[in-house]
Every structure is written in C-alpha cells, then in structure tokens.
C-alpha cells in the first residue's frame, strides 16, 4: 500500500505533531507514504475568498502532480482535503472553470488530468488498512480513556465522502478499536470558528468555549481532532475561555492517540509539542506508553 502524501502548510508549522504522529503510525502499519514533490499551498479558505479561480489553479497543480505519481493522494489537513476535493467537483461541474484551470496547468507544462483520488487518513485507516488489522497491532490499549471526538466541518461538509455527514463515526470506531471510550459529543461537527479567533477574537472565543463546555459536560478527559486549526483553537485558548469552569483538556490529533495504542514512543509522535500534557491522565488511567 502506497500513497502520495500532501502535508499542507500547517503540518510543517503549528500542526507538526500531526505530521510526526501520522508518519509514525502509517510506518508502523506498513503503509508507504511519499511526500508529494514540490507541493504548493492549496489556498485553504483564505485564498478562496481572495480569488476563487486562482485558488482552483493552485489546488490543481498539486492534483496534477499527484496524478503523475500514480498513487492516491492522502491529505491529512481538513482544509486541504476539502479544497482539493472541491476543485475536482467544480472543475467538473463548471466547464468554464475547467477551461481556465486546464490552460493554467498547460502554461507550466503539467498534465491537465486532475482526477487523482484525494483520501483522508481516517478513510485509509478504516477502509484500506481495516480496523481488524489495527486492533491486532494495538499493544498499549487506551483503557477506557474518555475521548470527545471532534471532527469539525471540513471533512464532512459539504462532501461526506467516507462517513455520515451529520453523525460521523469513523474516528469514534478507530478510537474504540484502540480501547478508548468515546463519549457522547453532540457538537462533534460544530464549527470551531477557524481563523476568526485571530481576526474577531471575542466571537472566536465564544465558539471555542461552547465546544470545551460540552466536552466537559459529557465527561471527556481528552479531545481528539482531525484539523490543525481546530487543534490549535481548542488547545491554546482554554485559559481565556475558562470562566466559571476551568478548562484543562489535552487536545490531541487522533493519530497521536493511535500512536500511543500502537506502542510508538511519545516523543516520536509529537507529544512534546502539546501545551497541555496528556501524560498525567495516561498515568492515572494506567495506560502504558512508550
């Protein structure tokens, strides 16, 4: 099993722990990943509001190059995953957009085929590797660690390609296979505000506060995320968001939790990059970790 790997800008910066744990986990499961050579920024939501057509062209460059490798393209960052898929759909549904993108790719001598399949690591773990294979490799089960699974918006809306749109359970099932207890979390797909915390701080904080309050109300000990920006939002502002309730949750990527279960040493899975350490909770729940 081999995939082209598209990290996206965040995974090289604030989302480093995601990349580290992702690479470690897939290596341990025997899946080969090759970083897409000379990938460029997909544009995410910001470029899309600046110039829509240029945004599609930027995404298309990556898709075209991925097509040349012949492998499916794995995009762990939720925003990149959405933009790449969106580009494929819009190019197909609006021929004039397809024309512009094709011309742009021609101008830099890249093939115009942008049909490479864009996959999310959750999709690959569940459908290609399989829960049984993963369960078999779990050496340090998570002993009923209470996890709130936070999916955020972009991997289920508007395209729910591998999971139920309103009540996704792929991450739930994965974490349960690792021995964790997934708590009831009705806000699992509610928006965290994205970049609004930076641009409109009060409003961004309110959204973050709701998510943290619900996690606490349902007894979560850890929050699991799939998106670097969600992870940052939920982790970095817990003190600011605390009012009557003190929030202090470790917010981890699902790949990090999977890494613990697979016995990968914490420092190889980016745990040193967390602001709120999860080690006290792991010790309390008697979860062995490397």
């Amino acid at each position: 099993m081999k995939f082209s790997y598209y990290p996206g800008c965040s995974l090289k910066g604030t989302g480093r722990a995601y990349e580290e744990s992702l690479l470690a986990v897939f290596r341990s499961l025997g899946v080969e990943l090759e970083e897409l050579k000379d990938w460029n920024c997909c544009g995410a939501t910001t470029y899309m509001s600046y110039d829509e057509l240029q945004s599609y062209a930027l995404a298309a460059r990556n898709l075209s190059m991925a097509g040349q490798t012949g492998n499916d393209l794995m995009a762990p960052c939720a925003a990149c995953y959405l933009v790449l898929n969106k580009t494929q759909y819009y190019v197909r549904d609006y021929p004039w957009i397809g024309q512009i993108v094709e011309h742009a790719l021609e101008s830099i001598h890249l093939p115009k085929d942008i049909g490479a399949k864009v996959r999310h690591p959750l999709d690959i773990l569940l459908n290609d590797v399989g829960l049984d294979a993963i369960k078999a490799k779990v050496s340090h089960p998570l002993n009923g660690l209470k996890i709130a699974p936070y999916y955020g918006c972009q991997i289920v809306r508007p395209y729910a390609l591998f999971d139920n749109q309103r009540n996704p359970t792929s991450m739930d099932r994965l974490l349960e296979a690792c021995g964790a207890e997934v708590v009831y979390y009705p806000m699992k797909t509610q928006c965290c505000g994205g970049s609004q915390k930076g641009t409109l701080p009060e409003i961004g904080l309110d959204l973050i506060r709701h998510l943290l309050a619900e996690a606490q109300r349902n007894g979560a000990e850890v929050i699991a995320t799939v998106c670097p920006l969600c992870q940052f939002n939920l982790e970095a502002f817990q003190e600011q968001a605390s009012n009557a309730h003190q929030f202090k949750f470790p917010v981890l990527y699902f790949t990090q939790l999977l890494a613990v279960a697979l016995g990968i040493p914490l420092k190889h899975a980016g745990f040193q990059r967390s602001f709120i350490s999860v080690e006290p909770i792991l010790t309390k729940k008697e979860i062995a970790y490397a």
Partner: protein, 196 residues
C-alpha cells in the same frame, strides 16, 4: 430621538448587483430561496450577525448592494457549510458568501485596518512569492499591518509555540517558484479573455 429614513425606493436598488449574484458560481438557485431561515438557524455565527444569512440572501437577490457589502455577515462567515447541508432548496449559500467577500474586498467595503482583508492580501502575497505559507511570518505581517499592539498579548502564546517547536521562522518555499507566478498569471489572462 434620532430619526432616519429607512424606506427603500426602487431607484436605490442596484439591478446589476442582483443580476451578478445569480451569475456567480453557486448563485444560480438563489431565486428559489423560500426564506425559510434554516440557514440562519444552523449557522453557528448567526448569533452575532447584523443581517442573518437568510436576510442577506434576500437582500442580495433584490439588489441592495450597500447593505449587503457593508454587513458584518460576510466577514463573520467561517465557510463551515452547515447552511448548505440542510438547505431544502439546495442553494449554494457558502459559495455565495465567498463571492460577496471577494467583491467587498475588491471594492473596499470594510473599515480601515480590518484584519480579514489584510490577512487575505498578505496570504496571497506570500503564496505568490513562496508558493507556501510560513505561519509565523504571516501572523506577524498581519499584526504589523493591523493592530500591532496586540502582538504584546500574543507574545505569551508565541513563546509557547516557539518552545514546542511549532513556530518555525524559516521560510517555507516551493522550488519552482516561477511556476506559481506563471500559473496565477495564466488564470488572470484566461479570465480576461473569457470575460470578453
């Protein structure tokens, strides 16, 4: 009591704006909007908006350009797609918000020093120059151009990010940077041609 005329005369409508919104990508079905309010109900940000998404849709299709482009709504939208998923008429609301945002930025409908257009501009500049975003540099540039005194407040968080290795100052870049510029220029030239 400060009174203001709020009645709208037909002459104050902008029919070109109304026509434009129906021609944007995603705006094809705006005339089907029932004004049911499901979009506003599901939007997590609608609690803070001056015009709810539903109202904005109606104002847009009726051509009230001033109100629409000066609203807070288009800036508050995080493009989370919650509205689109449930819309009973399958109207591509999120994409229309993108189009309105782009137009508002182009026509300058925002207060001086407003962070979001600054972010968008700096973002695009960085991509044009390097092909990738270096988060630390982007954040600093936005702060400098907007409310640079907030950098003080950010410094504690910034330290933490640096200590945990999540804030790299080294510039992330693509090797074939010329290609990026060529790519973006090609889009502009084809777009101009098609507009003719």
């Amino acid at each position: 009591m400060e009174l203001k005329r709020v009645v709208k005369f037909e002459a104050e409508r902008d029919p070109d704006f109304a026509r434009w919104i129906t021609q944007t990508v995603g705006g094809e079905r705006i005339r089907h909007c029932l004004q049911c309010g499901l979009c506003s109900g599901s939007c997590p940000l609608s609690l803070y908006m001056d015009y709810t998404p539903r109202r904005l849709m109606h104002l847009s299709r009726e051509g009230f350009k001033e109100e629409v482009l000066s609203s807070y709504t288009i800036w508050l939208c995080t493009c989370c797609y919650a509205c689109m998923v449930e819309c009973p008429k399958k109207i591509n609301i999120t994409h229309m918000m993108y189009a309105l945002k782009t137009r508002a930025m182009k026509e300058g409908f925002y207060p001086k020093g407003f962070a979001i257009p600054v972010l968008a501009r700096e973002f695009s500049r960085m991509i044009r120059g390097s092909g990738r975003i270096t988060e630390s540099r982007l954040v600093m540039r936005v702060f400098l151009k907007t409310a640079f005194w907030r950098m003080m407040g950010f410094s504690k968080l910034g330290m933490r990010l640096m200590r945990t290795g999540r804030m790299r100052l080294q510039r992330e870049k693509v090797q074939r940077r010329g290609d990026i510029v060529t790519l973006l220029n090609a889009v502009d030239s084809t777009r101009k041609e098609l507009a003719r």
